[in-house]
């Protein structure tokens, strides 16, 4: 009974960890607790192009404001190699309500920011009564050339609008706060970076549950009931996972490959979660550090063709994961040495 209690308690902790890390990442993306993001469909950018944006070229877009308090439009760019500050392109961002003669806001931004923030936010004075209105934006390259030009990313969502909510209104009623949090969470989860990160954060919980199902022993009475059938199912899953451990082992590796080749999510928490998880996986399946060293080398090797192919950002991602495996390797070696030392002593 106590074991079961412990299992439930740890599971709950891991769930809280998942929620906490996901919310933390959402806050990091939104930059403020009071801001929440709404992704827009692919048609938000009208003359979308995957070609580099050269001097004088423009992209235009249109969004329908979902809420009041519109203050930021984020546009997703493809990350590329950093170039010297003096050579960076200047991007002119303009924004207005549809039908208006004049631009409501315009400003220039340096393209170098895209390396650190590929989903680049363009801020403007908050529009309090923006809900339901249509807004147009325009992005023009002022100094774009073959070396410094930026490229829009085809990944969904291409555009996200951000809304700042009134603190007093949110805190006035518990229901308003709950509604705001729910909206913030649900809307953010539509952004691929967030739900990918959230899946990674959920992995410790999933693994723990899947590994732990074998421990759940129900009484004979309950075995005949629905929960008894559930128990059977869980035991079966447990058996399958024991027989084919590569199913679970491959999950983090598949997620890493998705990150390297497709998403390139800028979220350091991914490494922090994945490294201990991998150590636990290795311990669980008695994998020695061979595999960790192997994956570190493989990811390092993957970065080579990516660099040659011009996908610098993906190459950096591969190298980052290789580095994470190296850190894991170091920890495993230290733990092995400790373990061996203890064995010798006993």
């Amino acid at each position: 009974m106590r074991l079961l209690f412990n299992k439930i308690f740890i599971s709950l902790c891991l769930l809280i960890l998942w929620f906490g890390l996901t919310m933390w990442y959402i806050l990091t993306i939104d930059k403020s607790f009071l801001v929440y993001s709404i992704p827009h469909d692919m048609s938000a950018v009208k003359n979308f192009t995957q070609k580099p944006l050269l001097k004088g070229e423009k992209v235009q877009g249109e969004i329908v404001s979902a809420e009041n308090g519109l203050g930021i439009i984020s546009i997703r760019f493809k990350s590329s190699k950093r170039i010297p500050y003096k050579d960076e392109d200047l991007l002119l961002f303009r924004f207005k309500e549809k039908g208006s003669q004049n631009w409501y806001y315009q400003n220039t931004y340096r393209s170098g920011m895209i390396y650190d923030i590929p989903f680049l936010p363009f801020g403007f004075p908050i529009i309090q009564n923006s809900k339901g209105k249509i807004y147009q934006f325009e992005l023009e390259s002022l100094k774009g050339n073959t070396k410094n030009s930026v490229v829009l990313d085809n990944r969904s969502p291409r555009v996200v609008s951000k809304y700042k909510q009134n603190k007093a209104q949110i805190l006035a009623k518990p229901s308003a706060l709950t509604e705001f949090l729910l909206k913030k969470f649900v809307n953010s989860m539509q952004i691929v970076d967030v739900y990918y990160s959230s899946i990674v954060f959920l992995l410790p919980f999933i693994f723990y549950v899947l590994w732990g199902v074998g421990y759940i022993k129900l009484s004979n009475k309950k075995k005949k009931s629905f929960s008894g059938s559930l128990n059977k199912l869980l035991s079966r899953i447990n058996n399958i996972l024991s027989q084919y451990p590569f199913i679970l082992i491959s999950i983090p590796l598949i997620l890493i490959c998705i990150d390297v080749f497709l998403l390139q999510v800028l979220n350091d928490l991914l490494y922090i979660v994945m490294a201990p998880l991998w150590i636990v996986i290795c311990k669980k399946y008695k994998l020695d550090c061979n595999y960790t060293a192997l994956f570190s080398i493989l990811l390092l090797l993957v970065s080579l063709p990516l660099v040659r192919g011009g996908s610098i950002f993906a190459a950096e991602k591969a190298a980052s994961w290789s580095f994470t495996f190296l850190v894991t390797l170091f920890i495993q070696m230290i733990l092995d040495r400790k373990h061996a030392g203890k064995k010798r002593n006993t």
Partner: protein, 704 residues
Amino acid sequence: MKKYSLLIIFILFLIIVYHTWIFSNGIFTYGDWWYFWNESLISVRVSYFNIWISDFNLGRVSLGIGQALTWGAYGFLNRLIGADYQLGLKIVHLFPIIIFTPLGMFVLLKKYIKSNIAQLIGVLAYCFNTYFLTLQTGHLTLMVAYSLLPFILYFFIETLEKKSIVYGVTTALILSLASAYEPRVAYITLLILFMYFLYELFNNIRGYKKLIITAFYAGFPVLLFILLNLYWIVGLAFTGSIVENELFSRSLFGNEFLNILYAITTFHPFWTGIQPNVFVLEDIPMYQWFIPMGAILGVYLNRKNSFAVFALLLGLVGILLTKQSGMPFQDLYLWLYTHFPGFNAYREASKFFSLIVLSYAILIAFLAEFIINNQFKNKHFLYLGYTLLIVITSIFLFNTKPFINGSINTVFISRHIPQDYFLFKNILISENHYSRTLWVPTLSRWGLITINHPAISLVETMNSDWLKQTILFRDDEKTAGQIMLSFIRSEKFGELVNDSNIKYIVVPIQDSANDDNFFQYYFKSRNEYITTLNSLSYLQKKQIGQSSLVIYENKNYLDHIRFASPSATPTSMLHYNLVSPTEYTIKANNIKDTTSIIFSDIYNPNWRVRIGKFNWFNSIFDKRYYLPSSVNSPSSSGMNSFYFNSDEVCKIYSCVKNADGTYNVEMTLYFSKQAVVNLSLIISGGTLGTLIIYLLYSFWRRKP
């Protein structure tokens, strides 16, 4: 003979690689690596133990005081054996690089690796990686300090293992020597030693008693190091420069040049295979990936070896820091730069390459030993291992190609001093009277700098000492050259030139062949500066030699220490004598009422006036030793202006009263913090002497 064949081959290889440094007597100077005339070596370099130095622009708190020992060595060698710049450079910087870099690594590797070939491969990895080779093209202080790094680590490990005071003392002495070359490397080395200490604690130390003993043996070399370096730590701390100075206040730089790919492959972003292309990002060659692969295999195959695992830790920390603001943990470096004490000395992260270099060199040596000892059970793996080893070794050997064929240029080719600079130098040293020389737009590498004839770079002074006075000329839309020209045309220029004791204004020769053409950086041609200066009536053109060096003489320049007109009486006279850059004796005769004396180094409140006899030691403890600090305030030109009433001052201090009611006053102008530096120097010097005597005594006792 066979036993030493590998060593002989390696030494021959070193001679081939560094043949220019070893056999040529030419002048090696490039980029920031400056040439110094013999007069500069004696005058400026020896003065580095002073916390204030007035060699360049309008004087400065000497942030290089920590390197006083090595810079001073040039001056001392010149005095002792008449060594000129070329010979001094070889003794102080070049030969230590050639000798200590491989030797240090060899000593360290020999402790853990038995195979001579494996040791050699590790040594090659340490000596001929792209980072260290790039440093050798101009950042020689860093490189010598890095050459001592393996020695320090070796002696520190021996200290902890053998619980030996002698090894601890040796660690402290070599660490201090490294610091005398480059304090920033000493900081990185301390970080490495601290990591080793923690690693050792985690791995091998059980129980409080062992912990305390290990902590003592780890801590006392550091304590000795602090005592040995007290003079500059105290000096900079007391002048407020250790936390905030022009070097530490710079913003983070070069994010675009470093990322995890450069870090993990240990490839210097400016390495081209010939002369490095500074600030141009080079692509990483494919073969460079073999190096981290070899290192990872090295640690994996030797995972039971504690030191190999520690080397991996070094590499990981190195990669994490060297990638600077690249992923992963993009904000980490900026956070450390802003918050971690001492980290703001590293405005760009390339110096942390050294951790990766050390780590990889050790791990590759471990890999080599594993392969050479034939520990692979599978023959195919063995062949693959040998192939990898040959490829990795070839990479390091291949890196030396530009050094052998001379295409590296930089400090590996001899430069020639144009004749006019010789002539101008001779003019300056023949003049005993203090004056400064203004170089427009900036100082040539052949310009003379002495304490009596400091040099001023126009572009640098406008951005520092004359910043307030020239603020009106600044315009974001204009180039640096345009701003300088409009300033030269103004009346303010003449005023500042006189106030700053500038006797000569020089437009250097545009000399690309000797890496002495900087006009392009300011977007104005040399002729435009000459034309503008020609139009100034108060300047007189001076003809020397072939007239390729354009020199103007300013007859109206004022004295270094002078009465501020009209504070003195018509009969007032002032004589001064430069004792050191931090001390001037002044005799002011026939002064009356309020007197104002201008001392034309840039204003610093630590310049104080003592009336009467002066003893620096007494000044430390006597708070009323000097005239109140309020007597010194900045003049309109930003210099030190001492304003006091002679009647009141002479009531307290000893002055000679003349028959006409005026006073003759003897005073000392002193940079007050130098007194603390002097005291710390005695402590540091005493510690050094004691440690050397202790080492000699220990060595003598060990002899049978």
